[in-house]
C-alpha cells in the first residue's frame, strides 16, 4: 500500500521550492500587514503610483507567457525555440527590473525620500525593492540555466530544473500582481 505511494511523489526539489514560496509569502505578508497597520496611524503620507509600474507589470506578465512556452518547447524537444524563449524571458525580466528602478527614480524626483516622516513611499521602496531582488535572483537562475544549454559534455533532457524555474518565475509574477494591486487598492 505504501510502495505505490512512494513512486507518485513530487520531486523533492520541486517540493522544496513550494515550501520556499510559502516562506517568501510570509515575508511579504509581514510587510504588507505592517503597511495596513501603519496606514491607519497619524502622520501617514500617500504616494502617487508611477505609470511606469503599469509597463513593468505588462513586461512581467509577458515573461510569464514566454517561460511557459519555453517549458512547452523543451518538453517537445524543440531546443532552438526553447533557448530563444528562455532568452526572451531573460530580457523581459531584466527590463522589468530596470523599469522598477526608473519608477523609484521617478518617485524620488517627486520628493518621496527615505528621510523624515513615514508614509506609503517608504514602504513602497522596501516592498517593491525586495520583490525586485527576488526577480533578480530568478534572473541569476535563468542565466545559469541558459549557460548550461551551451556547456557540458552531454545534453540533459531532464525537465525538472526547467519546471522549477518556471514555477518560481510565475510565483514572482503573481507576487508582483498582488503587491501592485495592494498598493493601488489600499494605498
Amino acid at each position: 500500500m505504501v510502495s505505490t505511494q512512494q513512486r507518485n511523489k513530487i520531486h523533492p526539489h520541486k517540493f522544496t521550492l513550494w515550501i520556499a514560496i510559502g516562506s517568501i509569502i510570509m515575508m511579504f505578508a509581514g510587510l504588507t500587514s505592517a503597511y495596513i497597520v501603519k496606514s491607519g496611524q497619524a502622520g501617514w503620507h500617500e504616494v502617487k503610483t508611477p505609470m511606469l509600474f503599469w509597463y513593468s507589470t505588462a513586461l512581467l506578465l509577458t515573461s510569464s507567457i514566454t517561460i511557459q512556452a519555453a517549458l512547452r518547447s523543451f518538453k517537445h524537444r524543440s531546443m532552438a525555440t526553447f533557448r530563444a524563449l528562455l532568452l526572451a524571458t531573460l530580457v523581459l525580466g531584466l527590463a522589468f527590473v530596470v523599469i522598477q528602478y526608473k519608477g523609484f527614480l521617478w518617485l524620488w524626483d517627486r520628493g518621496v525620500h527615505f528621510e523624515g516622516s513615514s508614509g506609503a513611499g517608504q514602504f513602497l521602496y522596501i516592498i517593491f525593492g525586495l520583490h525586485a531582488l527576488h526577480v533578480l535572483g530568478g534572473l541569476v537562475a535563468l542565466v545559469s540555466l541558459f549557460i548550461r544549454q551551451y556547456i557540458g559534455r552531454f545534453r540533459s533532457y531532464n525537465v525538472t530544473p526547467i519546471e522549477i524555474m518556471s514555477t518560481y518565475w510565475h510565483f514572482v509574477d503573481v507576487l508582483w500582481i498582488y503587491l501592485f494591486v495592494f498598493f493601488i487598492w489600499i494605498g
Binding site: 526539489h13 515550501i19 515575508m27 509581514g30 497619524a42 528621510e115 513615514s118
Partner: protein, 607 residues
C-alpha cells in the same frame, strides 16, 4: 581542481583523518573524498550535524561564560574582580563591569543562547543527524543546500563574533532589539556599529535556518523509505518536522522586521520612530511606531520558543520509550499535541506585549489563546509519565536528562500559566519571575533535551560512548544547580526585583536578597565548571571513549541503528531497509523489542 591543490588536499586528509573507518563506506557513492569535501565543505548530513553541534558548543561556552561573569558582579556588587578586566578590558575598568556593558553582555547572552545554541546548535544538529537516518534516506533532499545552511550559520557566527570586538561594543538593546533604543546610534554605544553587525548576522542566520528548514520538511515528506508512513515515524522526526515548519513561516517575518529596522537606523526612514528628542533636538522622524516592531519581532519570537523546545520534546519521547523498554504512551496524542502547539504558537505572540499599551480586549483574547497551550503541554507531560510508568527503566545519562527535562518542563510550564494571565503578567512583567520562568521552561529544559540527545546518539555520531560516570555527575550537578539558580528568582520577581539592572545596592528593599544573589552566583560557577567537564568528556570520548562493538547499543527499534557503526555517505551499505511497523514495539509478545525492519508476524498481537 588542478593537480597541485589536489595533492595538497590529500596530504591534509592523511594528517587530519581522525576517525578513519574501514567498514563504513557504502557501495553507492564512489566519488573521491578529500579532507576538504569530507570534513569541511561536506555535503554529508552526518558531518554537517557534527559541524552544527561543535559550533553550537563553542557558542554555548561563550554565552554561558558571559552569564557567569556578569553573575559575579550581580552576586557581589561591592567587589571588584580582576578577571573581569582581563576578559573585558576597558568595559570593566578596575574589575567592575560598566553598566552599559552589562546591557551588551545580557544582549549577547540572550542572542547567543536562543539563536546560535538552542536553534542552530539544537535543531541544526539533530535534524541533520536524525532525519535521514530515522526516515531511511541516504541524505537530505538537497545536500548542497544543507551545506549552505551550515556555512551561512558559520558566516552569521563570524559576524556576531566580530561584533564583540568593535570599539563601541556589541549590540546592547536586549536580545529583542526593541527600537527606539536599537534604532538610534546616539541612544547607546552598543546601538552604533554593534547593532548593524547584530542585524547583519541575524539576517544571515535567518537565511541559514530557512535553507535548513526547507530541506528538513522536504526530506521528511518526500524521502522516506518504503513502508515508512507518516505515522510510523519516530516522534523525534515529528518534533523536528513541526520545528522546521515554525521556522519557515516565522523567520521571514522577523527578517522583514529587521529590514525595516536597518532602514530606520541607516537611511532615516520612520517605520519605528516618532516624536523623539535627543539632546534637546527633535528628530525629523514622524509617524513611526515601535509597537510595530514588537509585533513583527514576537511573531517570530514566540514560535521561536517552540522552535527551541519541540526538538527536545521529540528526542525525549524517543529516549524515554527506548530506555523504559515500553512503547511510547499515546503516539497519536503526542503527534496531535505537537501539531496543536505548532498552530497555537502563531496565535499567542502578543502575550509578550501586555504592557506595551495594547487594547486590553486584544490582551484578553491572547490570554485565552495562551492558556490553551497548557492543554497540549499537559497531554505531553502525562504521556511521558505514563510511558515510564512501570517501565523497565535503564538509567543511562540520556534517560536521566530526559527525566530531568520533564521535571523542568513541568516546573517552568506551571509559571507559564501565571504569566499567560495578563493580570499577573502586568505585575511581574520585566522582573526576575519572567527570567526564572523562561530559563527553566525553554533554556535549561531545552539544554536537557539536547544533552539527552548527545548522550543517546553520540555512539551513532562517533562510534564511541561518552563516559558514564562523568555523565552522571554532569546530570545531577546541572539539575540541582538549575533549580538552585532559578527557583529563588521566582521569589525575587514576585517581590518586584526588575531584570536588566546591574546593581540593586541602593534599593534597600531588595537588600534582603543579597545572600540569595550570592548563592545563585556561586552555583552558576559550579554548574558552568561541570558543563566544561561535559565538553571535556565530549572531546575526550570522541577519540578515546569506549568503542562501540554492536550496531544497536540501546536495543532500539528505530532505523538509525540498522546502519553500520561508521556509516559512510549514503548511510546504508546495500539497499535502504524497508519498514514494516512503528518504531515503538518494545516489550511486545514477550520480546524485548522488535526492529522496525521486521515484517509483522502471523500471530502477532496488535499494539
Amino acid at each position: 581542481m588542478n593537480n597541485e591543490s589536489q595533492s595538497h588536499v590529500q596530504e591534509g586528509a592523511v594528517t587530519h583523518d581522525v576517525h578513519h573507518n574501514g567498514n563504513g563506506h557504502d557501495g553507492h557513492h564512489h566519488h573521491k573524498e578529500t579532507f576538504i569535501t569530507k570534513y569541511i565543505f561536506s555535503q554529508d548530513h552526518k558531518t554537517i550535524a557534527k559541524q552544527f553541534l561543535i559550533t553550537g558548543m563553542i557558542w554555548a561556552i561563550i554565552g554561558a561564560l558571559f552569564s557567569v561573569l556578569f553573575r559575579l558582579q550581580l552576586g557581589f556588587p561591592d567587589e571588584s574582580f580582576p578577571i573581569l578586566e582581563t576578559f573585558f578590558g576597558k568595559w570593566a575598568k578596575g574589575g567592575r563591569i560598566a553598566p552599559e556593558f552589562y546591557y551588551a553582555l545580557i544582549t549577547m547572552h540572550g542572542t547567543i543562547l536562543v539563536f546560535f545554541v538552542l536553534t542552530a546548535g539544537l535543531s541544526g544538529t539533530f535534524a541533520n543527524l536524525l532525519i535521514p537516518l530515522q526516515v531511511g534516506a541516504r541524505d537530505m533532499a538537497s545536500p548542497f543546500m544543507n551545506m549552505l545552511s551550515y556555512w551561512f550559520f558559520f558566516l552569521a557566527s563570524v559576524v556576531m563574533m566580530s561584533s564583540l570586538f568593535v570599539s563601541t561594543g556589541p549590540a546592547s538593546g536586549g536580545w529583542t532589539m526593541y527600537p527606539p533604543l536599537s534604532a538610534l546610534g546616539q541612544a547607546n554605544l552598543g546601538s552604533r556599529i554593534g547593532t548593524d553587525l547584530w542585524i547583519t548576522s541575524m539576517a544571515l542566520f535567518v537565511v541559514s535556518s530557512l535553507l535548513g528548514g526547507l530541506n528538513y520538511v522536504a526530506t521528511i515528506l518526500n524521502m522516506r523509505t518504503k513502508g515508512m508512513s507518516m505515522t510510523r515515524m519516530p516522534l523525534t522526526i515529528w518534533g523536528l518536522f513541526f520545528t522546521a515548519i515554525l521556522g519557515i513561516l516565522s523567520f521571514p517575518v522577523l527578517l522583514s522586521g529587521f529590514i525595516l529596522l536597518l532602514f530606520d537606523r541607516n537611511l532615516g526612514t520612520s517605520f519605528y520612530l516618532s516624536d523623539i528628542y535627543t539632546a534637546g533636538q527633535a528628530l525629523p522622524n514622524e509617524g513611526g511606531s515601535p509597537i510595530l516592531y514588537q509585533h513583527l519581532f514576537w511573531f517570530l519570537g514566540h514560535p521561536e520558543v517552540y522552535i527551541i523546545i519541540l526538538p527536545a520534546m521529540g528526542m525525549v519521547s524517543e529516549i524515554m520509550s527506548v530506555n523504559s523498554r515500553k512503547p511510547i504512551f499515546g503516539y497519536m496524542a503526542m503527534v496531535g499535541s505537537l501539531f496543536a502547539i505548532c498552530v497555537l504558537a502563531f496565535l499567542v505572540w502578543a502575550h509578550h506585549m501586555f504592557v506595551s499599551g495594547m487594547n486590553p480586549f486584544m490582551g484578553s483574547v491572547f490570554v485565552l489563546l495562551t492558556l490553551l497551550i497548557a492543554i497540549p503541554s499537559a497531554i505531553k507531560v502525562f504521556n511521558w509519565i505514563t510511558t515510564i510508568w512501570r517501565g523497565n527503566i535503564r538509567f543511562t545519562p540520556a534517560m536521566l536528562f530526559s527525566i530531568g527535562f520533564v521535571s523542568l518542563f513541568i516546573s517552568g510550564g506551571l509559571t507559564g500559566i501565571w504569566l499567560g494571565n495578563s493580570t499577573i503578567d502586568i505585575h511581574v512583567h520585566d522582573t526576575y519571575f519572567v527570567i526564572a520562568h523562561f530559563h527553566i521552561v525553554m533554556g535549561v529544559s531545552a539544554f536537557f533535551g539536547m544533552f539527552a540527545g548527545v548522550y543517546h546518539w553520540f555512539p551513532k555520531m562517533f562510534g564511541r560512548y561518552l563516559n558514564n560516570t562523568l555523565g552522571y555527575i554532569h546530570f545531577w550537578v546541572t539539575l540541582a544547580g538549575a533549580y538552585l539558580i532559578f527557583w529563588p528568582m521566582h521569589y525575587m520577581g514576585l517581590a518586584g526585583v526588575p531584570r536588566r539592572y546591574l546593581d540593586f545596592s541602593i534599593w534597600k528593599s531588595f537588600n534582603q536578597f543579597n545572600s540569595l544573589n550570592q548563592m545563585i552566583s556561586v552555583v552558576t560557577i559550579i554548574v558552568f565548571a561541570v558543563n566544561l567537564m561535559f565538553v571535556f568528556n565530549f572531546f575526550y570520548s570522541m577519540f578515546k571513549g569506549r568503542k562501540l562493538r554492536t550496531q544497536n547499543p540501546w536495543n532500539s527499534a528505530s532505523l538509525e541503528w540498522t546502519t553500520p557503526i561508521h556509516p559512510g555517505h549514503g548511510n546504508w551499505a546495500g539497499e535502504i531497509p524497508e519498514v514494516h511497523r512503528w518504531p515503538y514495539d518494545y516489550g511486545k509478545d514477550g520480546r524485548d523489542f522488535i526492529p522496525q525492519t521486521e515484517p509483522i508476524g502471523a500471530n502477532e498481537s496488535k499494539h
